[in-house]
Every structure is written in structure tokens, then in C-alpha cells.
Symmetry: C2
């Protein structure tokens, strides 16, 4: 979109124009072959590679802005791009080009007694909007995954990354267009107004799905008043339950990995539940290991008795996604109490039971209503790459359409294609 054409439009008019253009682009994209889409992706990768100096310049502006507004070091690190990171992003786009095309898969075929052939075929969703925070690499990742699935994308990143996001999108479009990519196939919203989100979520005429990725406030801003279907990527309050029949060596390994391997992500453990029969032999040793890893522990009375460094847990802790080296711990009376705790406080993301008892694990797997349920493995595996999807747009905490890791297949919908030779209904 050329700024000189839009300067006399309201925010709503500008966004609607973006929507109209995205819809048009999506119709064109749905017609391209796999080969054509892949050549667009390779063009986009080339475009971004060429534009690395330009993107770094834009990123420097965002970094300056971030420092001036007092962003934390963690957030500045997320915002920061360098040649190495951008080269990684370019490589990721080329990897997406190499994936199989999720469009055109024949999901089911039915031949009816009257001779009708009914095929359920994967097709692009159409126009997908992604609303996300800070990390500017999401702009390229999301745009390339959407494009591979034949969708036009409308991207709305955080305002602190606006220069980086716009520069990346421009580079992608320039490279893509050289390979024939239609106009407006990828659009970054240039307006940082918060109001833009509200308008976007009501544009059900032009947008088929919105994927918000972020914290509670972002999800709420998207959800409230929305008319477009939303696939939420919200909090992960993940549990590991150490059953009375657990292999305690395995339990310790899984607990440490689920908490410490990368605490700032949604599939990290936030609460550990331990059966009372093994608490005494398990918790003191685990406590030592976690102290060494500088994990702050917050436990119930029994936990505090067994781990001297643990602080007293509050009701609010059970509901908190720390995303940090902090862990809530509770000693439970039974498997039932563990399941009940997860039902009450969990976010239905990823939960694990450690046990050698098949009856206990079967009950846990069946009764815990989460996107991913594990027996004897770290919750950290909830990830598109680890699931063999190749890539992911995120982790859905919703139940409909996509649940858990959301990969290329989940960026498609389907249509029924019916072949007849004159059948009519009697």
C-alpha cells in the first residue's frame, strides 16, 4: 500500500482497503501451483537476503526506540536482529519452500450408492491475520507459512518492532514480486494504533481467521468484540505429575527438563504435582537439583517440610504462568487429586504423568482435557518441529480447528468437491 494514496483515509478505511486487497490476493494465490508458490518463497528469501542491510538499519531505529522507552534487556534481545539472525530467517523461508504443499491433499473420498463421488480436499483458508508481539522474525515466518498454504496474510506485530516488520515485509514482497507474487499477498499493518486490532477483528468480510500470539492482554484485546474466528495462542500452565509408581530417576530428569531447558516458553512446566507416597524420597533430591539451577520453589506445607528452601505457595501461584525459573509444587493424595488440580488451575496446554502404571497413565491420558497429554516425556516437546510438522505458526490453546502445535496443515481448510453425471435428489 502506498502511503501517499491513503493519507486522507480514516484508520478504518485504510484497514478495509488492506482487507479488500488481501481478499483479492488470496483468490489469486488459491490458483497457483505448488511450483509457483515455491518460486515465490524462494524469491522472498532472496529479497530478504539482499535487504539485510536495510532491515538492520530499520531494526536499529526500533532498538533505539526500545532503549529510550526503557524496554527490558530480555525484550531488547527479542527485538534485536543481526546478520546471523536474519540469515537464519532467510534459511527458514527456503526450508518452507522445500516442505510438501498442504493444499490439494485429498482427505477423504466417498462414492455414494447414487454414483456421486464426494472428495474432501484441503484448500487455503483465504486471508489469515497474525497478531503478535516483539520478535520481528515472526513477520517472515508467519508470512512464508501462510503463503505456502496459499493464504494472503495481514500481519500486526508489536509497535516496538514496527520499522523492522515493515522493512522485512517490503523485502519479502519485492523479492516475491520479482517471481510473480501478486500484490498485497503479504501486508504489515503500518499503523500502530491499538484501535487497529479492534477494527481488524471485526472485518469478517475480508479475514477468515485471526491467530493472536501473546500474553493475556493481547489475547483479550483480540477476543473482545471479535467477529472473525480466532485461534488463540494463549498461556501454557503446564503440569508434571509424579505418580506413586513413577521411576523417580525418570521423573527427576523430566521435571528438570520441563522447567529449566527453556523456561520462557509456553510448554515449560509451571507446576509439579507429586504423589504423597513418593514425596519423601523424591522432593528433597529434586529440590537440591533445582536449587543448583537457581529455580525458586513455591510449595504447599508438605513440600516446604521436605525442601527447606521452598517458599509458601499462594492460590494465585497455581494460576500463574511464570515463564521464568520459578516452580509451584504440590503434594497430592491421589491421581484423582492431581487430575482435579490440573482441571481447576491448568490452561489445557500440555500436561504429563510420570508413571510405570498403565492403569494410572491411561486414566490421566483420557481424563486430562489438554491439547497434549504425555506419559513419561518432557512437556517441552509440544512444538511443531518436534511433532514432525516441519514448522509451526504457534501452539493453539483452542479446541476447534487447531489444537496444540499448529503447522501448515492447520493453515488450510477444506472443501467438498462432488462429481456427478446428472444426479438429482428424489
Amino acid at each position: 500500500m502506498c502511503p501517499s494514496q491513503i493519507e486522507y483515509m480514516t484508520l478504518e478505511q485504510q484497514l478495509h482497503e488492506m482487507g479488500v486487497n488481501a481478499r483479492k490476493a488470496s483468490r489469486a494465490l488459491a490458483r497457483f501451483s505448488t511450483k509457483q508458490k515455491n518460486s515465490f518463497l524462494l524469491g522472498m528469501a532472496d529479497g530478504l537476503e539482499k535487504a539485510i542491510p536495510v532491515v538492520l538499519e530499520a531494526n536499529a531505529k526500533d532498538m533505539d526506540g526500545g532503549k529510550n522507552t526503557g524496554l527490558s534487556n530480555a525484550l531488547l534481545d527479542r527485538l534485536m536482529l543481526d546478520t546471523k539472525r536474519l540469515t537464519g530467517v532467510v534459511k527458514a523461508i527456503r526450508t518452507v519452500a522445500a516442505f510438501r504443499d498442504p493444499v490439494g491433499r485429498i482427505l477423504t473420498t466417498t462414492v455414494r450408492p447414487n454414483g456421486l463421488t464426494i472428495e474432501k480436499i484441503a484448500v487455503p483458508i483465504g486471508v489469515v491475520a497474525i497478531i503478535y508481539e516483539s520478535r520481528p522474525n515472526v513477520t517472515a515466518d508467519a508470512a512464508s507459512l501462510c503463503l505456502k498454504a496459499g493464504n494472503a496474510s495481514i500481519l500486526r506485530g508489536g509497535k516496538e518492532a514496527i520499522h523492522s516488520n515493515l522493512a522485512i515485509a517490503q523485502a519479502l514482497m519485492e523479492g516475491g514480486k520479482a517471481a510473480g507474487l501478486p500484490d498485497s499477498a503479504i501486508q504489515v499493518i503500518p499503523m500502530i494504533d491499538r484501535e487497529a486490532i479492534r477494527i481488524l477483528t471485526r472485518m469478517d468480510k475480508y479475514i477468515d481467521m485471526i491467530v493472536p500470539r501473546g500474553g493475556h492482554n493481547l489475547i483479550e484485546a483480540v477476543l473482545e468484540g471479535a467477529r472473525v474466528p480466532i485461534i488463540k495462542h494463549a498461556a501454557g500452565i503446564c503440569h508434571v505429575y509424579v505418580d506413586k509408581k513413577a521411576d523417580l530417576g525418570v521423573a527427576e530428569k523430566i521435571a528438570i527438563n520441563s522447567k529449566c531447558q527453556r523456561p520462557g516458553v509456553c510448554n515449560a512446566m509451571e507446576t509439579l504435582l507429586v504423589h504423597k507416597d513418593v514425596a519423601e524420597s523424591f522432593l528433597p533430591k529434586l529440590g537440591e537439583a533445582l536449587v543448583q539451577r537457581k529455580v525458586e520453589m513455591r510449595g504447599d506445607a508438605e513440600t516446604c517440610r521436605l525442601i527447606s528452601s521452598a517458599k509458601e505457595v499462594t492460590e494465585q501461584d497455581w494460576r500463574t504462568e511464570y515463564l521464568d525459573f520459578i516452580l509451584s509444587i504440590r503434594v497430592v493424595e491421589s491421581l484423582d487429586e492431581a487430575i482435579q488440580h490440573i482441571e481447576e488451575y491448568g490452561s489445557h496446554h500440555s500436561d504429563c504423568i510420570v508413571t510405570k502404571d498403565k492403569i494410572a497413565s491411561d486414566r490421566f491420558l483420557r481424563e486430562v482435557d489438554s491439547a497434549v497429554v504425555y506419559v513419561n516425556a518432557s512437556t517441552r516437546f509440544t512444538d511443531g518441529g518436534e511433532f514432525g510438522m516441519g514448522a509451526e505458526i504457534g501452539i493453539s490453546t483452542d479446541k476447534l480447528h487447531a489444537r496444540g502445535p499448529m503447522g501448515l496443515d492447520e493453515l488450510t481448510t477444506f472443501k467438498y468437491v462432488v462429481h456427478g453425471d446428472g444426479q438429482i435428489r428424489e
Copy 2:
């Protein structure tokens, strides 16, 4: 829910209590075996069969009310129950009991290089709310389909059918409970306040999916301000396009069937598009056949020239779901113009091309973005039964989760079940 316990609660409190109870019931339902669920269904069928006189009495109240408030004869007919209709409903519940269980299907299995086994398994959605109009048989149909898929249901029918709906639900629950069905597995909202819909659609803590089935006003009332994911069952503005290479005999048969076999349903044709090259040989003959069937025709200038009884069509006609013996007709220059018309005015429900030309049909099937696209068959086949799904909860006009006929499989979601032996992420 016992009215004496709730009389001092606000509408919101009452609905929240129903939500809490439905959530509880859904957890219990998720644990039952196929055999147990089927015995609940057979109990429900028995319960309704026994209660036929009670339901007829309740229905008589609704019919009296309907006559007093001046409901049309068509609506009164939809509202009316008699022994034959109720016996049909009872039989339908027994048929649902005989269907295969959609829960527990293993959708995919992946074994990862690290030894993790990842199964994607169909599970109940949880709590499903259905909001519908007039026909009280929907109460039993929706409740039994939801139950078969392991879901608790909250049902909200039209206020004109409130006595019938409550009596049916009570009969189902009594019969079901005799077979062990948990409390609150099926609940009809007893309050007719319009406000109840607004509250319901914001209860995302207790309700996982809402399916509104009805006209524009109902869909809007559900959609506006909703927080619960919605699967819309909205208008069907379906098209038949007669291509220049159509078999005109087949085209006539399909056009008549799509329009006349049952005009009051969403998969009936509302607009006929005819290629200019065949208009002269096709339209006059079709016009005669439709006049005989008392179909009012509204056409563009060329149609009016070829069919003398046709009236002039308006822009608004192209956007109208008549649900009646009325048909809009347009003569188009090309396949592109036909596709463009459907894109502009259609509702992405069911659209058909009649042609012997594979290139034309392939383009139509690919480029028309509708739930069901047909070549050489009546649009009237968009139906769960006709698609071999056994039954349907309705026809989704949304793109995510369910699109087109929504059967038992679409009343389930999935979870990933991961088996490990101590795997951690490196």
C-alpha cells in the same frame, strides 16, 4: 435444574450454574464407553417414547400460543408435533445409538526419531450449545448427536416452542438417567429472555462451541460480542451455472431439482447463471417448466427477453435467500463472469457447474470458494445423510473446524497423546 433452587438467582447466575453443571457432566461423559453411551441413548429413546402424551400436551400449549400470536401456517406446521412425528424422533435417537462412535478414532500416529509415539485421537469437544428456531424435534436430534460424541449439550430453542422443548428434554433426561446418564448432560434453557443468548455466548469458561442454526437475526445475535467459538449455520445462496458446453437436458433436470424439490432449505438454488451461448436454446424451455411449477422468475434483460413471464431482477435479488418458489436468473458472458458473480453475491455454501468440459469444471471446482462445489449434480445433496455421515447437526457456512454438512465427527475435537520412556528435550 430444580426451579425452586434458582428462583432467587439472576438470569446470569442461572445460566452460569447451567454452565458449571454442563462442564461437570461433560467430564463424566468423556469417561464413558461406547456401550454405556449407547445405553443412555436407548434409555433416552425409551423415555421419549413413554412421554409422548406429555410432550403432545406441552406442544398443544405452544400451538395455542403460536395461533394467538399469529404465527404463519408454515411456522405452525414446523412447530406442530403429533404421534407420528414423535415416533420418528424416537426412531432417530435409536439410529444414533447404532452409529459408530466418533470418539477414540486415531487420526494420525507418528513415531519420532527419539522414540516418542504421538497419536492424534478424536475426543469429545466438551460442552456444546445449540441455538435454533421453531422445530422442536431439533431438541432431541441435537441432544442425541452431542451425547453420542460424548458432549454435554445446552439447548436454546425458539420461545414459541419452549413447552415442547422442555418436555422433550425432561423425557430424554428421565429415560437417560434410568440408564445411568449423569445429571445435566442435556439442558434446555428454560428462560426465554433474549438476553440469555448474549450471556451464553460469553460463557467461554463453560462452553466450548456454539452452533447457531437460523436466520440472519439469530446469527447476528449470537455472533455480536461472543467469546465462545461459533460455528455458523447461516444462509445458503446457492448457484447453478449452466456452461456453454453443458448437456442441456441434464442442466434442466438439475436446475428444476435444485430449485423445486424443497425450496425452503439452505441447499436449494436461489440463482441460476446461464452462459450466453446456450441461453437461447435453454432458457425458454426451462422457463416453461418452472412456470408449470409455479416458480416466480426474476431475470436480467436477456432473461426477460427469453422468458416472457420473468420479472426484472434487482441488485438486492442476487443477495437474497428466498427459501421459496422464486428464482433469480442471469445470462453471463463467460465462466469468469459466473465465478465472479458467485464470489460477489454467494454465501459460499453450495454451487454447481453443469458442463461436459473438464477444463471449465476444474476451474469452477478450484476457484469457487464454497463449502461444497458440484459438477453435474443438484445442490440439494449438501446434507449429512446424503454425504454418508449418517446424520447432521446442520450445515456449517464457516470455514474453520466444520465446513458444509456437520456430522458426528465434527462434534469431536482431538488431543495429542504422547508416549515416551523418559525423553527430554536437548
